[in-house]
């Protein structure tokens, strides 16, 4: 049986190639994801190890596992304490902070991309991650000197001797570029722009005064870092800790891997979709193979092969194909990850060079996914093959494609699946389960499978309707195409189902996007009455680890007559604990002006009490979820000041970035970083918004990183962000659609090879080549339209379910852009034409005589 299966694979290379292709693409996505993230991870592993190789020990503010670093700095006197420890060879202080270069046009370097980091220059080379190579200048010595990283210097064409302007959390400063440095051996740290200054100058620039953010230490020979760690640790003041270089490397790697892990999961989710789509195509192919070979299989049965042997024959065949295809998929994955890295470098992420890392895990996972999915998809056709009775070997006609009755049974099962899926989906969105994502994912997958089961029965009436315009205008070729699509409802349906998956996700996203856009307008209108807002444009309105708006910028607006009600919003990201939860954002707001610039539906006097009593105002949903009521005292833990008792002094209704508000005074008393996330304000009486805007812009002239936006600008920014996210999703889902299109091609190839004789006959009685091509093309379009229709319907449902769940978040309505849906149908037609290109050509080129006498 094994040999027979192998022979079959070799005998049908083209068919196998087409099947294999969907496996290759799916597997390449999986392996490419792993290879990409592994390569980055291992490259950085090397880089960090290299960078910290000279550092035996670092003294820094202690870190809380949950809330991060308690403070940014400690007093200079610690240096003396450390230096006095026996076994310390060299100890060098360090300060770091935000420093963003301006390019030669005065625009901040990096835009919305990677961070901008500033350091003090460490004179001891062993302790300095930055390195100035021969001929690239020297370290900064005076107040107005700067060293920057090579990648940034190359990209923005800075050379030693140039004047460089730099932004800090305050106004712009000017420096002379005296050196260009590398980070370890890399030109940059993953695209971050780096700059270094003389130590005391850096302390001043980053607002440290007479304090440091870290002390880096080398041990004398014969003292191990661990030993030194103990000794230094013993003399450190409270709130500081000593970590070894090794620990730091692994900490940094953990952080990196966390970020990469997220990318990994997201990409694997798309890989999963691609493979899911692929499995439909694989199943389809094997179904056709079994149908075409039913006579041959029956003969095997007639000469004594058991049911199991026949089944095995098909399964072995699937195994061979998947083995080869998965291996090719891994190779393609390597190419893809190399390509992605190249692309990211082209986008100035300057990832350090390093070999592609193919972990054994990558190969094992990719191979198993490819093989298991293929065999699983081939299982149903294999079971069908085993049911072929030996008598069919004697029959003249090809095995019929399954009775209507079995279609009904199949459909009933499908309806049950789809219903269960829909229930899971709705529960997942609305219920309070620990892992709603699994419910939603499982529900969606079940619905897809369910609909795929019902699709054959649906396809019979629906393809008739979809084909109607074609049949009316195009006559007999369209009619034949439609009948061909209906003739093999299972095959038509699974090709369409493969397309359905991608289309449904795209549809869902565009309905969500349209609805969000409509909502943003209302939300901004209703809850954000402020005429103007100011934020750091390099990051957008909010995001962790952002540069934000320096507090000094708020002061710069003090004497601007054209504006009033200036309200600062400060956000602490994941660094404040409320009872036992850590909200993503914890907000401090200017209590006295808050209600003029933001409308959150707060209880009367909430803001005033918040300010007067050091209280906290909480959103009603969070109140309910935790069973709190006003006047309760809750414990709020800050990284720097520890646990504080705050009284709940009021609530608010409407959705906001944070569920928790305290006054600016409370916030600044407990959070070290005083950076503002957003400044909101109104135009003063008698001034137009435009006048107020230009006055504000002028007052903020020293802060090119800040942008002043009126409502129109805000809408635009919000819409742009939605569109950006959408286009990313579309690019990834495009992959699923490509596989589906290949699936249609595959189906058509198989169906024309099955109908060779019929096509020959049609040609013999006068069908032209052009008509033959058209017939195949129409069939393809009909399948694609059917898939698009299923997908759009499903996507509309998914969007509805999700939006139902979001109603509590202030997202209301259900806005469908019919133009967009119309475009999807047009694209389906295009996809159909593309999918048909090759099969149509092949059908038209058939030798009439050979086709007619085809066995």
């Amino acid at each position: 049986m094994f040999k027979a299966a192998l022979k079959n694979v070799l005998a049908h290379k083209l068919r196998m190639f087409l099947t294999g292709f969907s496996i290759i693409l799916g597997v390449s996505f999986v392996s490419g994801t792993y290879i990409f993230t592994d390569s980055i991870s291992s490259t950085f592993d090397n880089l960090f190890s290299d960078v910290y190789s000279g550092t035996d020990l670092t003294v820094r503010p202690a870190r809380d596992d949950e809330l991060g670093q308690s403070t940014n700095s400690f007093d200079e006197s610690v240096l003396g304490v450390v230096e006095a420890v026996d076994g310390v060879d060299k100890a060098e202080p360090e300060v770091n902070g935000f420093a963003q270069l301006l390019d030669k046009e005065g625009e901040p370097v990096g835009g919305q991309g990677p961070p901008s980091l500033g350091f003090s220059w460490t004179n001891e080379p062993a302790l300095n991650p930055l390195k100035i190579n021969e001929g690239d200048g020297r370290p900064p010595v005076t107040d107005d000197e700067i060293v920057i990283d090579k990648a940034t210097a190359d990209l923005y064409e800075f050379s030693v001797g140039d004047t460089v302007k730099v932004l800090f959390n305050g106004p712009t400063e000017t420096f002379t570029l005296v050196g260009i440095a590398t980070f370890g051996d890399a030109d940059s740290l993953a695209g971050a722009s780096l700059s270094a200054f003389e130590l005391t100058r850096a302390q001043e620039l980053f607002g440290y005064g007479e304090s440091y953010s870290a002390i880096n230490i080398t041990a004398v020979d014969g003292v191990s870092p661990e030993e030194l760690q103990e000794r230094v640790g013993a003399v450190l003041p409270e709130g500081l800790e000593a970590v070894t270089g090794e620990q730091q490397t692994s900490e940094q790697l953990d952080e990196l891997n966390q970020g990469l892990g997220f990318i990994n999961t997201a990409l694997l989710a798309f890989a999963g979709i691609a493979i899911f789509v692929g499995s439909f195509i694989i199943q389809n192919t094997f179904r056709v193979i079994v149908a075409q070979r039913s006579k041959e299989l029956a003969l095997l049965r007639a000469i004594g092969a058991s049911k199991l042997q026949v089944m095995r024959l098909v399964v072995y065949e699937a195994f061979f194909v998947s083995l080869v295809a998965s291996a090719l998929g891994i190779l393609l994955g390597m190419l893809i990850s190399a390509g992605v890295r190249g692309l990211m470098n082209a986008l100035n992420f300057s990832l350090p060079d390093g070999p592609l890392t193919v972990e054994p895990r990558t190969i094992i996972v990719s191979m198993s996914v490819g093989v298991v999915v293929t065999i699983f998809a081939a299982l149903l056709p294999a079971i069908r093959a085993s049911r072929i009775s030996p008598i069919e070997a004697m029959r003249e006609n090809e095995a019929n494609a399954g009775s209507r009755k079995s279609l009904f049974i199949r459909s009933s099962i499908g309806v049950v699946y789809a219903a269960i899926g829909a229930i899971l989906l709705v529960l997942g969105f609305n219920g309070s389960f620990d892992q709603p994502l699994y419910l939603v994912g499982g529900g969606v997958a079940l619905m897809f499978i369910g609909v795929a089961f019902v699709a054959p029965l649906l396809s019979i009436p629906i393809t008739s309707i979809l084909a109607w315009p074609l049949v009316v205008t195009r006559g007999v070729t369209a009619r034949l195409a439609r009948d061909n699509a209906k003739r093999t409802p299972r095959r038509t349906a699974s090709s369409a189902a493969a397309l359905m998956i991608g289309v449904s996700l795209v549809t869902m996203l565009s309905i969500l996007a349209t609805t969000f856009k409509t909502n943003i307008t209302t939300i901004l209108d209703d809850s954000f009455p402020a005429d103007l807002s100011v934020f750091n444009e390099s990051i957008g309105p909010a995001g962790p680890g952002t540069a934000g708006v320096p507090t000094s910028a708020e002061s710069a607006l003090d004497n601007v007559d054209e504006i009033t009600d200036v309200t600062a919003f400060r956000y602490a990201y994941s660094s404040v604990k409320v009872e036992d939860q850590i909200p993503f954002i914890f907000a401090g707001v200017d209590a006295d002006t808050m209600d003029k610039t933001f409308e959150l539906g707060a209880t009367d006097g909430a803001y005033a009490r918040m300010q007067a009593e050091d209280g906290i105002v909480i959103r009603t949903t969070a109140m309910e979820a935790n069973g709190w009521s006003v006047e309760d005292v809750i414990t709020v833990t800050f990284a720097s000041t520890g646990a504080q008792e705050l009284t709940i002094v009021g609530t608010f209704e409407d959705p906001f970035d944070s569920d928790y508000l305290v006054s600016t005074e409370t916030y600044l008393a407990n959070v070290e970083d005083d950076t503002i996330a957003i400044l909101a304000m109104n135009a003063s009486e008698g001034y137009s918004t435009d006048e107020a805007k230009s006055a504000t812009e002028q007052a903020l002239g020293d802060y090119p990183q800040l942008s002043v936006q009126d409502k129109g600008d805000l809408f635009e920014v919000a819409e742009q962000q939605i569109d950006q996210i959408l286009s990313l999703f579309w690019a990834l889902l495009g992959f699923a659609v490509i596989i589906a299109v290949l699936g249609i091609t595959n189906t058509l190839m198989l169906s024309i090879s099955e109908r060779t004789r019929e096509i020959g006959m049609l040609r013999a009685i006068g069908m032209t080549r052009r008509q033959t091509r058209r017939m195949i093309r129409y069939e393809s379009i009909i399948i694609a339209l059917f898939g698009a229709l299923l997908g759009i319907t499903m996507g509309a449902f998914f969007a509805w379910a999700l939006l139902q769940a979001l109603e509590g978040e202030g997202i209301t309505g259900y806005n469908v852009s019919f133009v967009q849906l119309g475009i999807y149908f047009l694209l389906a037609i295009v996809a159909g034409i593309i999918a048909a290109a090759w099969p149509a050509r092949k059908a038209a080129r058939m030798d009439v005589l050979k086709a007619i006498y085809h066995e």
């Binding site: 007999v476 009948d483 004789r757 040609r763 013999a764 006068g766 069908m767 032209t768 080549r769 009439v848």
Partner: protein
């Protein structure tokens, strides 16, 4: 756009030549593996004449049919339908020729399974975008005895009925010539006889040129004329054949 098929031709136009092959050679392979399927065959097929081509397997009878019908090309010599030289014609012209002047009947009926009998019969006209002549259609189905089966799909028809549908399909566009490849090969003898006598009638009554390849002497006996092929050459001709005479001849040729 749609146009009505030309009016029925006069009852008989004897001796008008519907198709011909002149000095036809067909060679497969090269050098040592060379096979001469046709080796200098010249033949004319006249309107109103039902011709049968016989010969042992490998005698070239099917090749002759295919080349005369324009489905295959001669290696040398000329094949014509009407005035058109087939060898020099492109696919487009050949397709047009098949639409207008040629009908085919195959051993394995080759009906489109998704279409009803009526739709199958009218398919050549639908493909060429012509309207059908209702009277001609009614005459045909009446004569072939498939009038009450018109709304059935092929799978609901017997083999004999299916082949009669195929015959109606071949005749519906009033071709100059019909090529039939073992048309009764898949039928029981009763259905076969019905079919063959219809072909006979079609030649007589409508002046239809019919060329049929068969290895069945009984079938060939329905023809007006029988050609005997051997090793790619026409070795004999017989008019007014009977199955006994044919069998006798075949024996002489020696299988």
């Amino acid at each position: 756009m749609a146009k009505t098929a030309t009016k029925p031709r006069a009852k008989k136009q004897t001796h008008a030549i519907a198709a011909s092959v002149q000095d036809g050679q067909k060679i497969y392979g090269k050098d040592t593996t060379e096979v001469r399927a046709l080796d200098g065959v010249s033949v004319e097929f006249q309107q109103g004449v039902f011709t049968a081509i016989m010969g042992p397997s490998g005698s070239g009878k099917s090749t002759l049919l295919h080349c005369a019908a324009g489905l295959d090309k001669l290696s040398s010599g000329s094949a014509k339908i009407g005035d058109m030289e087939l060898g020099r014609s492109k696919d487009k012209a050949l397709t047009k020729l098949r639409r207008e002047k040629v009908g085919f009947i195959f051993q394995s009926f080759n009906l489109v399974p998704t279409l009803t009998a009526k739709e199958n019969i009218l398919l050549p006209l639908s493909i060429s975008g012509k309207k059908h002549d209702k009277k001609w259609f009614n005459d045909l189905v009446e004569l072939l005895g498939i009038k009450d089966r018109l709304d059935h799909t092929p799978s609901e028809l017997s083999g004999g009925q299916q082949q009669r549908v195929a015959v109606a399909r071949a005749l519906i566009s009033r071709p100059e010539i019909i090529f039939a490849d073992e048309p009764s090969g898949n039928l029981d003898s009763k259905s076969g006889n019905t079919l063959l006598s219809f072909l006979q009638t079609a030649a007589k009554k409508y002046g239809q040129a019919i060329v049929m390849v068969t290895h069945d002497a009984n079938a060939a006996a329905y023809a007006d004329e029988v050609l005997f092929l051997q090793d790619g050459k026409i070795v004999d001709k017989m008019t007014k054949p009977t199955s006994a005479k044919i069998l006798d001849k075949l024996k002489k040729i020696g299988e």
